[in-house]
Amino acid sequence: MMVRTNWLGEFLKHSVLLAGAIVVLLPFYLMLSYSLKSPAEIESNTGGFVGSQEIMTDRRCIKAGKPAEECDMRPIVYNYTAAFSEAPLVRYMLNGVFVTVSIFVIQVLVALPCAYALSKLKFWGRDVVFGLVIFCLLIPVHAIALPLYIMLAKVGLTNTYAALIIPWTISVFGIFLMRQFFMTVPDDLIDAARMDGMSEFAIVWRVMLPTAIPALLAFGIFSVVAHWNDYYWPRVVITGNRDLMTPPLGLRMFKSDLDGNEYGPMMAATTVIVLPLVIIFLLAQRRFIEGITMTGMK
């Protein structure tokens, strides 16, 4: 059977996909473009992608009583300096890193030994525990945010890092994923380790952990993306304390603080927050797509 390329068909397919791609990329284009342009260009939708970059005067700088020549700058400089000076962006980003990394590390510390026990140890009640894990998979953590919030408020933990991290320390999905993965690890490997006199703890961390790296990587991508981007939970437990805000929440505060037409700095802040994940995604695209779909069921 000879396969002939249907050039007209290819052309039509590419046209449809290209049209879709333009709509998908539109907000990313606008975000970058707005973060570079002057307020006037943004409001009149002129200046193309980068704008004319004419020197503009920073009104806030004049108000602060600085000499006029220090307050003249290119729109791109103005937007990005304003983004960093008007909001503690660096602090938000560090909070984001701290919270996502802590969540992931604790999730692994809890899930890995449990998954090992569920797949490789024989003990009374094992099926009951696994049943509990499956049952918990049915409960979306976002849905029980309100009772969790009440519990945290009762023990006085709202507005703390602990509040941002605690509800996510248990990932039943992580347990499930690791258990399925460990089921494929041959028992001989573990028996050999026991022969060598390794304790069960050492087996978990020195034998099972290294074999689980691919699964852990997928789970890590899923976990970090989910919690870096999460807005709902931080919005619930962090009220007003800017020092604890994660990037999405900080951005939201930035937005409500604005007097209305500060699109440039706003979009510069948005770019700074969105870009890290997007760049890592573009660099390790296949892994990301695999990781997120593999773990997509949650």
């Binding site: 397919k13 879709g20 998908v24 849905a143 709902y232 997509g296």
Partner: protein, 317 residues
């Protein structure tokens, strides 16, 4: 033997956390949904099913269910169809498939709240680019004729586009007729790439021989191949994609909170936002808990539907 009890150390923390952070809160919510509890008040009263009664009788909550269901019914079919369409097109491309895949997956990765703010700017009625582009189209004769239907001899003012050109384009998020649709549009924009990737995975598992067999039997057109082979073989993927999208869209919150706060006129007052507004902002934990329980019920039903179909190994015959 030391090994006999070491498992307790392994499963203990997980069990405690599951009980404390997942199971117990469900009971807390169920319990509080029958009370008028609020934070800062040491005691509470049993009020029976009053909270649930409110959920079914008050117009606010009717609007809430309407908004949530409409949102799900808009987002799920469209994002599933777009995901399937994109996957079919991409998998049949000779070159460039990887590029489209990355582009369509980008919104899944990007911080939704941040992108929602960009969309809000883009959809701004006066300075936003969306209306700007639409307005530009009004001045291009053939485009106006095409979009308003006047090339078929219709009255341009009768059509949506022609009418909007004469009056003005919608306020989108500020207009109660368009707000939910606009929020749904952002949801579709964000989520269809996820469905696409799931479908691409599903498509690779369709055995090549089946296409050859279909060819032997005289199924030559692309549509015949799709109808006879691809679609039936995608049965399990379909169930999975539909239920996952339903659960995800039931949980919509970020866009609503940042862009409309449930308004205008409660047209975007979806369940998770209502839960947040009543429970957290207004400290009405009883009614908030009742919404939580109803919400959990919805999600549970969707998950059970999924389990039911997956266990039956759906292949539409």
């Amino acid at each position: 033997m030391g090994r006999s009890r070491v498992h307790l150390w392994f499963i203990g923390p997980a069990i405690i956390l599951m009980m404390g952070l997942l199971i117990f809160p469900v009971f807390v919510a169920a319990f509080l949904s029958f009370t008028d509890y609020n934070l800062g008040n040491p005691s509470f009263n049993w009020i029976g099913v009053e909270n649930y009664d409110r959920l079914v009788s008050r117009s606010t909550y009717k609007k809430m269910f309407t908004a949530s269901l409409t949102y799900v019914l808009l987002v799920v079919p469209i994002s599933v169809a777009l995901g399937l369409g994109a996957a079919l097109l991409i998998s049949s491309l000779r070159i460039g498939g990887e590029l489209y895949k990355a582009v369509f997956f980008l919104p899944v990765m990007a911080t939704l709240l941040a992108m929602a703010i960009v969309w809000e700017f883009a959809l701004h009625p006066i300075v936003g680019v969306v209306n700007d582009i639409l307005r530009t189209g009004c001045d291009v004769g053939w485009l106006h004729a095409l979009l308003s239907g006047s090339w078929l001899g219709g009255d341009p003012l009768q059509s949506w586009y022609g009418h909007a050109c004469a009056e003005d384009f919608p306020l989108w998020l500020g207009d109660k007729r368009y707000a939910l649709g606009t929020i749904a549009f952002i949801g579709i924009w964000q989520g269809f790439g996820f469905n696409m990737v799931l479908y691409l995975a599903g498509l690779t598992s369709v055995p090549r021989e089946l296409y050859q067999a279909a060819h032997m039997d005289g199924a030559d057109s692309a549509w015949e191949r799709f109808r006879l082979v691809t679609w039936p073989m995608l049965g399990p993927t379909n169930v999975f994609v539909v239920t996952i999208s339903s659960i995800r869209s039931f949980q919509v919150f970020d866009t609503v909170e940042a862009l409309t706060r449930g308004g205008p006129a409660k047209s975007t007052y979806v369940m998770v936002y209502a839960m947040f507004e009543k429970g957290v902002k207004q400290n009405l934990l009883g009614i908030g808990s009742a919404i939580t329980i109803v919400f959990l019920g919805f999600v549970l039903i969707l998950t059970l539907i999924q389990v039911y179909f997956v266990n039956r190994r759906v292949h539409y015959a």
